[in-house]
Amino acid sequence: MGDSRDLEGRQVAVKKLVGSLKEAIKLCGLEDGMTVSFHHHLRNGDYVLNMVMDTIAELGYKEIKVAASAVFPVHEPLINHIKQGVVTQIDTNYMSGPVGEAISRGLMSNPVVFRTHGGRPRAIETGELPIDVAFIAAPSSDCYGNINGVDGPSACGSLGYAFPDAMHAEKVVVITDNLVNYPLTPISIDQTRVDYVVVVDSIGDPKGIVSGSTRITRDPVGLTIARYAAEVIEHSGLLNDGFSFQTGAGGASLAAAYYLKKFMKEKGITGSFGLGGITGYFVELLEEGLFKTLLDVQCFDLDAVRSIKANPNHQEISASFYANPESKGCAVDKLDIVILGATEIDTSFNVNVHTDSNGIIMGGSGGHSDTAAGSKLALIVAPLIRARLPVLVDRVLTITTPGDTVDVLVTERGISVNPKNEGLRERLTEAGLPVVDIHELKKKAEALTGKPNPIKTGGKVVAHVEYRDGRIIDTIKNTE
């Protein structure tokens, strides 16, 4: 397995399969202060980040920088590694759960660096974010490190976010629970990038990796917003043959796709590509011929995993292909329409998906600001009032996505169009949609809820928000 000899009959170092994670870490020459990276395709079912960091801690390393494309609730053990000084820096695109809460309370001395899904590969490729060792969870691998995400007990579909790490890290370690005969087919990331392969019992909990099937919301408020969103698209002038589309997996975003599908069928319109995190809903659109292809950087459910494995028109793309603004071409720039969410939006259309209503870290851009910037029409869908909180504020606590890249806010009580897009406002008004000035919409919300007191944050910077091009556009402070 993997053994081979040179012309003189000497064995050469092509034996990549190593017995343990410890051995692999040592072979990579990891040192204190180095950067290790992870991808988040196993999402909240991921075992690999914890497994690797526990081993690194056990081996006594300190001051490690963790560059994980996302951090989930399952990664709670990171808190202890931070307290012990094993981890002193985090670089990520998204963070939810206890780690974000602890960081908001001031856990780390170094601020977290938040990037976007396009900004991370940009930083890796330009050398701003050098990775010493990339640990890549692989649902299937052969002994030479050819891997894919579509087979095995922990199948997650696309491995898009792992590509930049594999391409640019000094050392690459593949961790798999499904070793197959050489050569693996199909191959996503290939053997030319991989140094070592470690086989473990399990890389993840399938229940946390992908949901069985992502369903559209049954919440009538969410459906109302979705219907407005679809009508905005219908009258945007962009719903033409060959249009491209991305939507999140959130209830209202997905429901908008449901209504959009109805309009497409009624009008006989076929789209060109669906982009981004792919759900079963998009798969349905592909299979019914309503879209010609899917460009998939991440699968959200089992239907998407099944489809990417079987359907040649459902293509795996890398994070750089998806959204890197400095690559020679990224897909978000070819995107017509994107539907995005918001925890807060302000009267200048700036959107926050980093911090919650109490100022605590609970998310991150992911592809939010990349797609808003690249697309021709960026719609934000959000309930105007959640519990008693208006989504519309004077100034968002954290800017994730700058307002000049957002076109329209769609709520259950009215639609506000960014003044930069006067033509759209006219078209929507003409179509009889309830278009309201964003200041008026805010007044409408506050008439019901009252004006909320602003959140007081502390004086310590706990995170920097980096825009896709590398500019720091905001900082997140600790919460009291």
């Binding site: 049954r218 009538p220 408020v221 459906l223 109302t224 219907r227 009032i385 259950e412 009580r413 003409e430 179509a431 009889g432 949609l433 309830p434 409408k444 008439a447 019901l448």
Partner: protein, 291 residues
């Protein structure tokens, strides 16, 4: 215009807050079946506060009170009338005496509180064999009456029939309600479709009701509103035809003709009346909005 009347439980603040966003022409705050006996007091206070403070825009605000056979209806009216709803919907109305009792009680409150008399309208809910038999008598019992509403569930229980999706068992009652309403010059409102997950069935049921002459239909799920609105909204062809009817009539009048015909068909008074109705609705919905 009352294409859709959305029922909202009177003790549910979340539903009351959002009642006006689904596009229903009217919202019915329900103090009757949707509220348990132990919560009648709290619900009527909540609905009163909602009526006084929440901006429902152009949505008509109806309150379904408890029936005359309960000890609650007077308390309901005492609390609700001063808050200024558009319409009171009394359930289980059996005849004109019921309407007279309610009307005189409302008038008493209006007088005591110095509220302009007669502004608050009535839409009696007819849901018994006796009520159906007296539908016309009920519809003309008060000037406040602006519509009558057929309740299919209680009715079928009362007559000992099985309630079906197809609704053959209430066909006669539907016809009777429509005739009574039209004879009295008020609107006829159809019973809700109760399977909230069967959109096809809902649409068929609404199409049937509209075809029979109903002006609108009650709904018990916000998700039903868009479908019912669509069914009860005149189509482009209907609007176009109505326009041509009125044009032809105007031409006929100008030329001093007694009888006018359009597309080889005689246009008589009812056709003109119907055309006017359709254009009124179209005018209200200008911009093609279904919501």
């Amino acid at each position: 215009m009352r294409r859709s009347l959305l029922f909202v439980p009177g003790n549910s603040p979340g539903m009351i807050l959002n009642g006006c966003i689904f596009g229903a022409d009217s919202v019915v705050f329900d103090l009757e079946d949707a509220v348990s006996t132990g919560e009648k007091d709290a619900a009527r206070i909540l609905v009163r506060n909602a009526l006084k403070t929440l901006d429902y825009g152009n949505t008509e605000r109806i309150v379904r009170i408890n029936s005359l056979k309960t000890p609650y209806w007077m308390d309901d009216l005492n609390m609700i009338i001063p808050a200024g709803p558009d319409v009171i919907m009394p359930p289980k109305v059996q005849g004109d005496e019921d309407i007279h009792r309610i009307e005189s009680y409302i008038s008493g409150i209006e007088k005591d509180r110095g509220i302009p008399a007669g502004r608050i309208k009535l839409i009696p809910l007819i849901e018994s064999a006796l009520g159906v038999e007296k539908a016309f008598e009920i519809a003309v019992a008060s000037k406040r009456i602006t519509g009558i509403f057929l309740g299919g569930e209680d009715l079928t229980a009362d007559i000992g029939a099985k309630r079906t999706k197809k609704g053959d068992e209430i066909f006669y009652s539907r016809s009777r309600i429509v005739i009574a309403a039209k004879a009295a010059g008020v609107s006829a409102i159809d019973t809700p479709y109760t399977d909230v997950n069967d959109e096809e069935g809902l649409i068929q049921d609404a199409v049937l009701a509209r075809g029979m002459g109903f002006n609108g239909k009650a709904v018990i799920s916000p998700r039903h509103v868009e479908h019912v609105n669509r069914v009860f909204t005149p189509t482009e062809e209907e609007i176009e035809y109505a326009r041509r009817v009125l044009e032809a009539t105007a031409r006929g009048e100008k030329e001093g003709k007694g009888a006018v015909s359009l597309d080889g068909k005689m246009i008589d008074a009812p056709i003109v009346a119907r055309a006017k109705q359709i254009l009124e609705i179209a005018e209200t919905l200008k911009g093609g909005r279904l919501r």
